[in-house]
């Protein structure tokens, strides 16, 4: 436990120390971009550097979020949220990215499903799952987002028709900094923390997140998020499931 705490404070200090050189890189890069003509080789290369710096910056924020999670006390505020509405909002942010990859999506959601969750946490998990489909779903494939009530919880499944995850790796991918070795040469960006954070969040919201085979047995990955359901009758919230049972 002491080791874990030392590691957290080490990570905090390192990421803090990284901020100054990163600021200098970003400022000087912007100035360099200002002084080269657009559409030249130099500006294209500098723009690539710009994108990579953006990635490094996201990684830095993810590392911090993750190390803070280790310190517990993340302050989730649980409330009743409409699944279709929240999925719609997050999907809107990914619409462009999915289109660029040629990925069609199909929604199988009912309007009435309501979960008890933290709004930002729920959005972060969904965002992570959708961006994984963007990265690993393969081009010209299909994503299915399905949600239903299994009588105990609300089950949300995000399926793609990409290469899938072998059954031996389905737990491994939730470990921090794990990238499946056969995928690392695809030019895919990521910090290796997305799924670890998403599972942490799901667990803290009294739910779960797993990777499984597709429901119809076709090739591809299926991520299944389960969250506490809120029972709704005739448009009125009746009770949280956890209180009713």
């Amino acid at each position: 436990l002491i080791l874990a705490e030392q590691r957290v404070s080490f990570v905090n200090r390192v990421s803090h120390e990284l901020r100054t050189p990163m600021t200098n890189i970003m400022l000087n890069l912007d100035l360099a971009l200002d002084s080269v003509e657009a559409n030249t080789m130099a500006s294209q290369r500098l723009n690539l550097v710009h994108e990579e710096i953006g990635r490094l910056r996201r990684l830095l924020e993810n590392v911090l979020t993750f190390s803070r999670r280790g310190q517990k006390d993340v302050g989730l505020s649980m409330r009743a949220l409409g699944v279709a509405e929240e999925v719609g909002k997050v999907l809107e942010l990914h619409r462009g990215g999915l289109r660029d990859q040629g990925i069609e999506f199909q929604l199988e959601l009912s309007d009435e499903l309501v979960v008890r969750a933290d709004q930002d946490g729920f959005a972060q998990i969904l965002g992570n799952l959708f961006s994984n489909v963007e990265k690993y779903g393969g081009s010209d494939s299909e994503m299915i987002v399905r949600a239903f009530d299994d009588g105990e919880q609300v089950v949300i499944q995000v399926e793609d028709s990409g290469a899938g995850v072998s059954s031996g790796s389905r737990e491994k991918i939730f470990r921090p900094f794990t990238r499946l070795s056969d995928r690392t040469n695809e030019g895919v960006s990521g910090s290796g923390l997305g799924l670890a954070i998403a599972r942490d969040l799901a667990t803290e919201m009294e739910g779960s997140l797993v990777c499984r085979a597709r429901v119809d047995g076709e090739p591809g990955a299926c991520f299944e998020l389960r969250l506490p359901r809120v029972v709704v009758e005739s448009g009125k919230l009746v009770s949280f499931h956890s209180q009713a049972s």
């Binding site: 901020r19 100054t20 990163m22 600021t23 200098n24 400022l27 003509e37 910056r57 911090l64």
Partner: protein, 197 residues
């Protein structure tokens, strides 16, 4: 328009300086809190950008001292301290904004412009403005213009304002590149042609 920047990392200070000068701001630079306080007292500045962790006097202490002498001058913290609590402390001390490191040129300039606009808009006297034909109403002190008649905001840098003013003062004349360079960049400025694309 003059901006004081206090930052102990020499390279950050230099890069911020170039960013601000490229937009036509004047700058006053300080490498620690004490130097910044001295320069704040001797120069009249329109805005301060303060790092938090600096030798001799940290940014929080500096902000407290500045606020005790001047309640209005806009203050922006630039800091690697990124926890929510650091931001809250900074704003409670009377800062107008908090820019988290790392940041790029465009974020920095946008924050500075927005803080300057807000602080100018709370000035009691009505802001000065002038009109360009029936198309644009320019508010030089607020670094912005409004499109006429439809409304719609345009953000301007001090250099944009200087160019507009030169062109307005010689209306009906063709103004040469050299004149613009002299009047808006100063004769010591080494012209890089990309500014005129």
């Amino acid at each position: 328009m003059k901006i004081l920047v206090a930052e102990d990392d020499v390279r950050t200070l230099e890069a911020i300086n170039v960013c601000l000068e490229s937009e036509g701001f004047e700058t006053v630079l300080a490498g620690d809190g004490e130097e910044a306080l001295e320069k704040f007292r001797s120069e009249s500045v329109d805005l301060l950008c303060l790092d938090i962790m600096m030798p001799k006097m940290d940014g929080y202490e500096l902000c407290r001292k500045v606020r005790s002498e001047d309640e209005e001058v806009p203050v922006i913290f630039l800091s690697a301290k990124n926890e929510e609590i650091d931001v809250v402390v900074g704003l409670e001390l009377g800062a107008d904004d908090f820019v988290r490191k790392p940041f790029g040129k465009h974020e920095l300039l946008a924050r500075i412009r927005s803080v300057l606009r807000r602080s100018a808009s709370v000035q009691k006297s009505a802001p000065q403005s002038f009109q360009i034909r029936d198309e644009l109403l320019v508010f030089p002190s607020q670094l912005r213009a409004e499109r006429l008649p439809g409304g719609g905001e345009v953000s301007l840098s001090p250099r944009d304002i200087a160019i507009i003013e030169v062109l307005m003062s010689r209306i009906d004349e063709a103004v040469s590149r050299d004149v613009l360079l002299d009047e808006c960049w100063g004769s010591s400025y080494f012209p890089e042609s990309y500014y005129f694309y």
